[in-house]
Each structure stands twice: as structure tokens, then as C-alpha cells.
Amino acid sequence: MTPRTRAALAAAGVVLGVLAASERVAAAHTTPAPDPRLDEARALAAAGEKDRAAALLSERLSAAPDDPAVLDLLGQVEIARLRPDRAAPMFQRLTELNPDVFATYARLGEAFILEGRLADAAATYRRLAARFPRNSQVASALAALEEDDARIGRLRRTYGRLGWAVGGVSLFWIAAFAFAVRRISSPPKPGA
């Protein structure tokens, strides 16, 4: 892993860690509307049975496609299942439904990083930085991501150039070899 990507991911992790702690506190002081199916999904997720939790939440989502609580929980479960490709659409939909929730952008950014979509992650963090300009963690995560994205771009170009270099050197050796063989094969001069 690149130090920079690690920094970005770690920054995202810190952001999410703070969020998780604050959510635990919030959960302890609020009484959400009872939702036995969500509770069941949460219990399954806590027991490590995230496949079953995802199935339950997907079923619930088909009945209520824009339920923010389901979208958020399902997105988090998919991240834990190492399926950021499935999590990203959940968080994207959440940002459309409620563009002012900090956590959603942070989670969307993490999903993009895990999927390897650094440019999309940087775009997400840019939106987050625009909405929360005083958050230094977001700014540092964004800077790290942008630098990583630029590095990867240079890497791809170098990758292509190296292919040409290998081909060029190979052709050079083949030409030198053919030249040497031809010179050696020519008949010796009289008296040599």
C-alpha cells in the first residue's frame, strides 16, 4: 500500500472512527423508531453474519428504496463484506437524498478508495471539503488522495513507456547481433 493512500485511508478511518463513536453516543441518548427488521440486521452484523444482514436489508430496500437508515446500514455492511462496489451506490443515493450529512460523504470516499477509484474518492472529498471547509482531516485526506491520483497517472504513463523501452532495447540487440553475424560470416580477406 502506498504511504499516501494509507494516509488517505487512515484519515478516512479517523473520520469514520470519530463518527462511529459519536453515533454510539447518539444512539445511547436517542430513541429511534422501533424497526424490528433493522434491529435484526444490526444484530446479525454484530455477530459477524453480514451476508444474512445484507440479504435482510436488501429485501427491506426493495420495499422502501430510499430509506436512509437501510441504505446507510447496508452500505456499511457491504464495506465489511469487502464489496465497496455494492456499497458505493448506497452512499451515493444517500448523498442525493440528504446532501448535508458528513458521514455519508466520508463513507462514500472510503468505498471509492477500497474499490481503487481514487479520482472518484478525491471528487467526493472535494464535495465534502466544500461543505465542511473547517475540517482539517477532510482537507488532509483530500490532499493525500489528489497526490496519489497524480502519482498513479504518472505511473501509467511510465508503464507504457517502459514497454517501448524494452522493445527498443530488444530490437537494438537483435540488430547488433545480425550485424555481427554478417560481418563474421563474410569471407576472409586474401592472405588473412
Binding site: 500500500m1 485511508l9 454484530a46 451476508d51 465489511a80 465497496p84 481503487g116 505511473l155 514497454g163 563474421i184
Partner: protein, 535 residues
Amino acid sequence: MKAPGVAPGPAAFFLVTLSAAVGFAMMLVEITATRLMAPFFGTSVYTWTNVIAAIMAALAGGYYLGGKLADRWPRVETALFVVLTSGLLTALVPLTAPGLSGALSPAETTLVSTTPLLVRTSLLVTLVVFAPPVFFMAALSPVVVRLLCLRRDVGWASGVNSAAATIGAILGTFAPTLWLVPALGSRKTVLLAAALQLLLALGGFIALRRWRPAAVAALGVGALAAVGLAASAPLRDAPGLVEEQETRYQYARVVHHDSQTELKLESEVGGCQSLLLEGSYLTGGAYYDHALLMPFFAGKPAGAPLKVLVIGLGAGTVARQYYHFWGPLQKLTVVGVEIDPALPDLGRRHFRLDESVAKGLRVVAADGRTFLAMSPERFDVILIDVFSHEVFIPFHLATREFFDLVRRHLTPGGVVGMNVVVERFPSRLLDALEGTVADVFGAVWHEKLPGAFNVQLLAAGDGRLDVLGARGRLAAYPPATTPIAEGAALRTLLEQGIDQVARYSPPPGGLVFTDDRAPVEKLTMRDLERFVEVQ
């Protein structure tokens, strides 16, 4: 054209000796090639493939050209000029290989995902630096055969030459691995190969009274002596370099920066294999910290024996942590298996491994699989943290047969954890690994480490991982009766980790690694290439 040939006797003996010496030098160069490039490009199977393929191409070309040379100038001088040229080109290798490798290793090599790039770069360096001397070494053989067979039968000449060259090559295969590289280092080993060729050429030219080429050979030998004395600078200098070592298995270096000491192997820049943070037993949420989660799943009662096996001990980061965080609570025994004995030695010097040894750590120098096959011991926790060539898990430590061995070494209630590094999800490598573990244990879980691309695979000997029970035990850690420094910090960290634990359901018909078919490196490389392509 009638050629003078070589009569049986000292000249023929000299030519056969020349063949043997060049065969010896050829293998020294080939084997040392990967070691010289390792600090920059690693030594993955792909790097090896590049070296072997490029050298085989040079051999083919050299044999052909040697045949032409032999027909055109069937003289002993021809053989000597060929050896002089290959000797001089070999002498350049220790200078050009690190220089060119360093120049072609841009800042992007800080990315593990540059592995595909490094593969191409290593091919380029092999073609430019290592192929030319090997080309001329190969050219010697037809010349020697031609000279010998003018006075003897072709079959005899060809057979004697091939046998001598092959015996030299056998010695050249063993010598660098077992003796030369550990004793002299890669650069001096290659210089030795060059010196051998140049000295033989020098002797031959003197015997023939060819003073001008003899002077060139003598100058070459003199230059080699000077370069050899200077070849003590680090192979790959880096800020904070504390110690570097060419072990029998790999290039290892210890780097210190920002109050932390890291053990890095091969071309590794971004990651590390062992880590020590000054004033702390934790490692900032790295994999090692999360390896401490496993005993919560094993659920051993307080004070009960807890036997832990670490496959891939490195410099002993995890062992040190286990003795600190679990030692006061359990009758702890840690067995650390490490294939490269040089790494625990580095651990003693730079990672406080002696503290763990004093507390009971048993260090075993062995391959992890061999150890399991030979050992009758059973363990409550088995941790697998094995990487060869930075990112590649050795295939024989990823197969159904290996995990079956692991399962048979678990106590009832025992658990296993395996560190995997994945650059992009979903990952076919991870899918196959999880499918393999599930095939053996009946079920597999994974923990995505927060803020990292590491994934810890988890399985239990009885197929049931008690996640809720582990949560409960974690919540009570550390017990009020036994204060443990940084215990609360560890609990907070592991609570974030256990939130990420997820059971994995392998797709039906998915790939299961076996000893017969385990394309671990191919899948790793494909994941890394996709990471670059997706940008």
C-alpha cells in the same frame, strides 16, 4: 580453411578449464542478477522469469555467434578475446545494475501497486546489464569445441566441453547461495566472477606472448581490485538506514524514522514486515495490533495456558505484543517460525526480540509448512503472516493441503488468523483464499482492518467463530485486577476491528488453491494491474 587446432595436453586442459570457469561465472551472474536488482524490483517469480528468459536469449545468440567466430578464427586467441570481453562486461555489472535500477526506479516505486511496472523495469535492466556478458560467455563454448575437435573426435570434444561447463555451472549455482553472497555480498560475488575470467584471459595471453590484450586484462583485474574495495556502500541507500543485510533468502534492511523502526524486505518502501514504535507496544492500528484479537475468539479462561504459533515471525513484532498484552493474563507460550534466520537476528538488534525470548518465545528457523508437518504440537492460536517478495503469499502456504495441516495443529476451540494485503476490492485473490480456507474449516470470516488495505482471514478449528462471545470478552479487557499499559487503547482499536468481522460465503464452484494448482502470484499480479488500470 585448415586451422591449427589444439593438441591434447596443457592447451586442451586450459581450454576445458576455461569452459568450466566460464560456466561457473555464468551461474554466479545469473543467480546474483536477481539479488542485485532485488532492492529495487524485488525477486518475484516475474523478476526471475525475466532474468531467466533474457539470459536464455543471450545464451542462444552467444552460442550462434560463437559458432561463427569459431569457423572464422579457430584460434586460442579467439577464445581468450571472448573471455576477456565477457570478463570486462561482467566487471561492469556491479556498477551498472544498481545505478540503472536506481535511475529507473522513480518516486512511484513507493507504491506496492507498481509491482507490474517493476516487472517491466527488471526486464529492461536484465537486457541492458546482464545479457551482454552472458552473450559472450556463451560464445566461448563453440570456439572451445572447434579447437578441441580439430585433433580429436567431435563427440569427445563436445562432450568434454559440455561436461566441464556444466560442472562449473553446478558449482556456480551452489557457491553464491550457500557461501559467496552471505560472505561477500552480491557485488563482490559478481566481481569475483569477472576476476576469474580476466585472470584466465590474462594467463592465456601471457602464455601466447600477446602483450597488448594481456595489458587490457591486467588493467581490468586492477580496476576490479579497486572497485572491490569500494563495494562496501549500501546497496540501496535510504534516509534513516540503520542496517542492511543480504541474507540467504532476501535483501533486508532496517530503517528508523519518526520514532519508529521498520524492517523492510527487497524493494519494499511503503510497507514493512516488522515495526517498533518507541515508547509503545502498539503499532498505530497496523495488522500486528489486530493479530491480538485472536485470543478473544479462542476464549481461554483467565490463567489458562495459551499457546500461540506465529508463522512468519520476522523480527518479532507480534510476539513482543503478545507477551505484553496477553502474558499477564494467560500462561502464554509463543512459538515463532521464520524461514530466514537473519530476520530474528535483526529483531534482537533492533526490535527488542530478546525481551520476548526472555519471556519464553521459542524461535524456530524453518519453513512454516515444514514446521507444521514435523511438529506434534497443537496451538490455541495460529497466526500466518507470510509474504515472499513483498506482496506475494508463498503458494505452498495458501493451499487446501496447508490449511488442512493448520487445522490439525489447532487445539479444540483453537483459531487461525491470516494476514492478506489487497490493493483493490473485490479481489479474486482474496476470493480464492477465502474459498480455500472455507473448504478446509467449513467457514471463514474476514476482518477488514480500519484505515488499511490489510484483511485478516479468520477461521476456527470447529468451524464456528464466536464473534458475539469475543465482543463480550473484549469489552471486559483489560481486567480491572490486572492493569496492562495501553490495554484500553488496544480495546478501542479492536472494537473497531471486530465491527468489521464478516462471514464470507464462497460462490459455488469458486477457485480453491491446491498444491497442484495455486496461481497465487498470477492473481496477486492481476489485482495489482487492475488497480493501475482502473484509475
